[in-house]
Symmetry: C2
């Protein structure tokens, strides 16, 4: 195959979930049928790389120094939801159940990957806690060992500032059938059971 | 979501098989973890768009005016394999069973999609036939209605120039189990049966 095509196939593999076969399919599709689309992709990618950085308040990906969530006056700044990644912000937004602000860790505590408190933005979060405007911090990290360690760390820090910390509920997903749910999730669902009146 | 991110998600959808969810995942991955890879992707895409065109002899995607298959002196120019797309060339090459040259239709006859003989390069193929150097033309289009119509058209043209035309075999794929093979393929496999001695 021509070196430029091989090079492009290799370069496409920086995209997550793209193996050599799909990269090859993409290259042939683009060059045969969608050169205009590929030009647009170059421009969009270039603009995003140039201009998208991190929000100075919550670390969300943003093209402004303060992101759309932090700068939105209709969002409640006294409730802070802590998530691991920008995808999580989008997922929570799609639930339309949260009108507070976010803090994006961009990872989780994981000493083996050299992710310590600094790397996940703890100094910035602590500064925010110290301002005294937060009534509740909702910890919405992933239910993994690292996520739980991160929850523990942040909950301790919140306690220092006397801020109530909560954890999103874990249990059987809506529409899920019990027989297909793994044991760990069922254990969580049982231990987290609530009175029917609630 | 920030307009630049939305724009990039939209632009990524020019890639085949990428829906809004995977595009979003790609955008967040690139911007958080692989900006260097994204830069390389821009460069590779740009170089390919600028320089990759079509081989003047066989219509394969190529950065030279004559592609690596047509210009390779170790390939036999008297056997021509006709395929629908560049992917098919790569697939046949991977079988290591063919040492002749290719002709890439870049589609198949399909009047509804305005793909007539001109669009699939018939004038160029006929010129090649007329040169008198071809001993056999192997028709390796896809086994679809359009592919068969294309086979019919090219076989007729080959007959005019007294060039024997052959069709690749269709039947049960190697490693395939009979019980999972569709009826049409089995019918082909039966009608195309050969003596065991062969």
């Amino acid at each position: 195959m021509s070196p430029l095509l091989q090079n492009l196939i290799q370069a496409l593999r920086c995209l997550p979930g793209i193996g050599p076969k799909s990269a090859q399919r993409m290259v042939f599709h683009i060059l045969q049928k969608d050169r205009l689309g590929a030009r647009r992709l170059i421009e969009a990618l270039d603009a995003a790389l140039e201009k998208v950085g991190y929000c100075q308040e919550c670390r969300m990906l943003s093209e402004e120094s303060i992101c759309e969530y932090c700068s939105n006056p209709r969002r409640d700044p006294s409730v802070l939801c802590v998530v691991e990644s920008p995808d999580d912000v989008i997922a929570i937004e799609s639930s339309q159940q949260f009108k507070g602000q976010y803090f994006v860790l961009m990872g989780h505590l994981s000493p083996l990957d050299r992710m310590g408190p600094e790397e996940i933005g703890m100094p910035l979060l602590e500064k925010r806690f110290a301002l005294g405007a937060i009534r509740e911090v909702i910890l919405a990290t992933n239910p993994t060992v690292e996520g739980e360690a991160t929850v523990h760390y942040i909950a301790e820090m919140a306690r220092t500032y006397k801020i109530p910390a909560t954890r999103i509920a874990h249990g059987v997903p809506m529409g899920g059938e019990l027989k297909y749910i793994d044991a760990g999730t069922l254990a969580q669902a049982l231990s987290g059971r609530r009175h029917c009146a609630e």
